[in-house]
């Protein structure tokens, strides 16, 4: 057991050492494009320019950030949307030459005083969904990109051979170089490049380098993730955080990128040059103290990270188990957070950016790899986080060591643990029903809990093997559904309802059956079913605080907007509500954590010198949220049909599921559907399920009606012209796209409410084209 106060240089992980001939590796590089820029200082949170690199043409240039851009798009993900809009076409797909990969920062990104201020926002057209996917990721890259001189990095085109991009903030140069000899898998590549580009061979210099990389499996899958490094001076390894969702790593490898390296000259407490450094430090210190005093009684993030959620989710029947069939499981206690605490390294600051004292980024050092090409090596595993543990419980894997193994290989191979886990859980369920079998799965025995087969699947993916199953399965649930249905192997309704994807993206790890608002939180989203827009299960299901459609719609307006705001600024959401002031429960609207919202108002004002209110923060988000939805419309999606969700997320798909929670569902048939007890007792399970199915499907459509109305959209989910103008948008091209789409929807009769309303019930508005009268 580590006892603390070990001098930084003396700490040992016990990991396998590697030695590389870095000179040989670097000598093999051929410089394909170079660009020199005048170094400048960040001013009040903005570098005031972005960097554009075209890998096809070799063009590298800087673009100015205008005041109008700040006003309309704030920064971070907002800038990303603006740059994408200027560069792609409605026909652009993930592998089109003009598709871009963006890494953006945001005005508060790089602040060291406030916990969770080091996030990068990545955007691209996703291979999984063919619309915009945005990911919020930790690590040092975002802050360093800004301190090196750029608010955003825009990568277009494709290199002809495996390449790296090097942004050298010390010299003020950008180069694109071939990199034929380096590794591709992250745990090795990030180490090679961190050592190669550190100015001197010291930990202090290595800490000034950050690397984006992916892995070999991203070449063969739509689940490719991006790993963002942050060098740990104690463990002496570059650790990693993932931009996991939507296959951005797949886009990265399709561009033939091995890595993007950024290096900074200096990092200090005022690198962001805030307008009011005293205020920024005061508000940050206040939060640090709250974390010090309260974290251990609230989320315990500092000790176990997000894994603390496992036991809570299991207790509330929300932990996805066997492909979301169940929300709790007798074996679940084997993977509760104390089990991982035993493996985690203690007494080391674990924040993924300097000054994050919430410190959820846990690691297991000296982990002995059990399978595959690195079998027997001792490595540092970053995580597991809740989502990765949930992905494994979904596959019925209950051994912490196998979860670590899955976590390690997904990361280094460049695979999103969430999509891979959720998809494999679906394949396992299909295997259990005989819809898939050993032969149809290229010889893999994908029964629930078979961790060996899961790892074998990943290794084959990494090796680029292309069996008929592997080549479809690695593209995700949506393609496998089509494949099964096309082959006539299973009932279409069962397959569609059991596979947990929406818009082509796999669900993240929460059971939403009993929370209608959370079903909307997953379905009525921009990029797909990811909980980063809203997490309303407790508010809705446990506390019943938002019982009406209108209240749910208000929550599905406010929370997605509020959570979007973090991405505009380069912030992490966790320090908002995963730590709360001691008196939060006594405040008005405690779910919003009003004191922390006020912190953010003060922080944005302190850094940027603006004079915003909490309402302005929501307005900043609303602009970007609507812009992104409108861009999805422009890309041919972003309509009601695209917000469809599988029934597994709404209720029981199989009789076994119904029977496992029979009392609950029977009671609902009486209380919510108004059936008589005696009638329910006489009905077959199938009949009861059908009634529940119809009822819940209709509930969801009614919810969509209420939410679209609240957001200022048409009944088909399209942002209205009036809404866009209210938000201050004047872009003629965008306004025309919307106008034309709404007119086309009108012709097809699509501008109508989706819910079926019984007598005495009202849709959100009885007026046709209600938006036309809005000022």
């Amino acid at each position: 057991m580590v006892e603390g106060q070990i001098p930084v240089e003396e700490y040992k992980t016990g990991n396998t050492d590697h030695t590389w001939d870095l000179v040989k590796l670097q000598t093999a590089h051929k410089v394909k494009a170079t660009f020199s820029y005048k170094k400048g200082e960040v001013n009040k949170g903005f570098a005031n320019r972005t960097l554009y690199i075209n890998l096809t043409t070799g063009v590298i240039k800087e673009k100015p950030v205008t005041e109008d851009m700040k006003k309309k798009f704030t920064g971070g993900r907002g800038f990303g949307l603006k740059l994408l809009w200027d560069s792609i076409k409605p026909t652009t797909r993930w592998d089109s030459d003009e598709n871009e990969l963006l890494v953006t920062t945001g005005p508060l990104c790089g602040t060291t005083q406030y916990a969770g201020s080091g996030k990068s926002l990545c955007l691209s057209i996703s291979p999984a969904t063919n619309i915009i996917c945005d990911c919020n990721v930790g690590g040092f890259f975002g802050p360093y990109l800004k301190f090196a001189g750029f608010d955003a990095l825009e990568i277009q085109g494709k290199a002809k051979e495996d390449s790296i991009i090097v942004i050298d903030g010390e010299k003020g140069t950008v180069t694109v170089e071939t990199a034929p000899l380096e590794e591709i898998n992250t745990h090795l590549l990030s180490e090679q490049l961190t050592h190669m580009y550190a100015t001197t061979d010291t930990d202090k210099c290595r800490q000034k380098v950050s690397v984006i990389s992916s892995g070999v499996a991203a070449d063969h899958s739509y689940w490719g993730c991006l790993n963002f490094s942050f060098y740990d001076i104690r463990r002496k390894v570059p650790r990693i955080k993932q931009a996991g969702r939507g296959g951005l790593g797949t886009v990265f490898r399709d561009k033939r990128l091995k890595a993007v390296v950024v290096k900074v000259e200096n990092v200090g407490g005022l690198s962001n040059h805030p307008a009011d450094p005293v205020k920024a430090a005061a508000v940050g210190t206040k939060l640090h103290k709250e974390i010090r005093d309260l974290d251990r009684y609230q989320c315990n993030m500092r000790a176990v990270g997000t894994g603390h959620l496992v036991e809570i989710m299991d207790a509330y029947d929300l932990l996805p188990t066997e492909n979301y069939r169940f929300g709790s499981f007798p074996k679940a206690s084997k993977i509760y957070s104390p089990k991982f605490y035993e493996h985690f390294t203690k007494v080391i600051p674990d924040g993924c950016w300097h000054g994050c004292t919430l410190a959820c980024a846990k690691t297991v050092d000296g982990y002995t790899v059990m399978t595959g090409p690195y079998k027997g090596e001792k490595v540092t595993v970053d995580g597991p986080e809740y989502e990765t543990i949930g992905a494994c419980s979904n596959m019925s894997i209950w051994d912490p060591l196998w979860i670590l193994e899955f976590n390690f290989y997904c990361d280094t191979y460049g695979i999103d643990t969430i999509s891979a886990g959720t998809a494999l859980a679906f394949y396992m369920e299909m295997y259990e029903y005989g819809i898939l079998n050993k032969k149809r799965c290229d010889g893999l025995e994908l029964w629930f809990g078979n961790a060996d087969a899961v790892l074998e699947f990943l290794h084959r993916l990494a090796n680029g093997e292309d069996g008929p199953f592997l080549s479809v399965a690695s593209k995700g649930i949506r393609r496998v559904k089509d494949w099964i249905i096309k082959n006539g192997w299973g009932d279409k309704k069962l397959v569609e309802d059991a596979g947990m994807e929406s818009k082509g993206l796999e669900y993240s790890e929460y059971v939403t059956k009993e929370s209608l608002a959370m079903q909307g939180g997953y379905g009525l989203t921009l990029k797909g079913p990811q909980h980063d827009e809203a997490w309303l299960i407790f508010m809705d299901m446990v506390n019943n605080a938002i019982p009406t459609f209108q209240m749910k719609a208000e929550a599905l307006h406010y929370f997605p907007m509020w959570r979007t705001w973090f991405g505009l600024n380069g912030l992490c959401k966790l320090p908002w509500n995963d730590i709360e002031p001691a008196n939060n429960a006594e405040m008005p609207e405690p779910n919003k954590v009003p004191e922390h919202v006020q912190n953010y108002v003060e922080l944005q004002n302190a850094v940027t010198g603006w004079n915003v209110t909490k309402e302005d923060l929501i307005l900043q988000s609303e602009r970007c949220y609507n812009w992104q939805r409108a861009m999805n419309v422009w890309l041919g999606r972003g309509r009601r049909k695209d917000d469809w969700i599988p029934f597994r997320s709404m209720g029981p798909v199989t009789e076994m599921e119904y029977m496992s929670r029979k009392d609950r569902y029977d009671k609902q048939l009486v209380e919510k559907l108004g059936l008589a007890h005696t009638d329910v007792d006489k009905m077959t399970v199938k009949e009861k399920m059908n009634r529940l199915y119809e009822f819940r499907r209709n509930q969801y459509e009614k919810l969509a009606d209420a939410v679209y109305y609240r957001r200022g959209w048409t009944p088909n989910g399209v942002p209205t012209l009036q809404k866009m103008k209210q938000l201050g948008f004047t872009d003629a091209k965008m306004l025309k796209v919307i106008q034309d789409t709404i007119a086309a929807d009108e012709k097809k009769g699509l501008n109508v409410w989706g819910g079926v309303y019984a007598e005495g019930e009202q849709p959100p508005s009885s007026e046709k084209r209600y938006w036309e009268t809005w000022k």
């Binding site: 006892e3 603390g4 407490g269 430090a281 640090h288 957070s337 000054g355 004292t357």
Partner: protein
């Protein structure tokens, strides 16, 4: 490197103190080249109903494991030292210090603390301060170990 086993910490004799604050003035001279004392001093003397109290770092080192960039180290003489060239001004040590002895003043983002230099001891006309040597293992404290779960 041989590890220090002892460290000098300040001992205060309240019965001797007359509240002249020459110690604070000497301290702010060390840290900020000013005789202002007060917020710019790592040692603070406060008058209470029962006489004077001293508030200063006791070198327990809880902050050492907090620093994300290794700016805080225990030096050869055992003193907990903040290297402000390395510091990134995150204020984690300021907020986590259980006795509030890591201080932050508006004019600088990097915090500062007592370095047991003895300036205050020499400045005190009443001999109310003394540097005494104590074993580190007796005062050492580590952060969040065994906390939580």
């Amino acid at each position: 490197m041989e590890k220090p086993t002892t460290v000098k910490i300040l001992k205060f004799y309240p019965e001797k103190c007359k509240g002249c604050l020459d110690c604070e003035k000497a301290c702010s001279m060390v840290h900020f080249k000013t005789k202002e004392g007060g917020d710019k001093s790592a040692i603070r003397i406060t008058k209470t109903t029962n006489g004077y109290t001293m508030h200063v770092c006791d070198q327990r080192g809880l902050c050492l494991d907090m620093c994300p960039v290794g700016a805080l180290t225990r030096r050869k003489n055992g003193v907990v030292w903040l290297d402000k060239e390395i510091c990134v001004g995150c204020q984690a040590c300021v907020a986590f210090c259980p006795i509030g002895a890591m201080r932050k003043v508006d004019i600088r983002i990097e915090p500062f603390k007592c370095i047991s230099c003895g300036s205050c001891v020499r400045a005190c006309p009443e001999h109310a301060l003394e540097l005494v040597e104590v074993p580190i293992k007796k005062i050492k404290q580590v952060v969040y170990h065994k906390q939580g779960v």
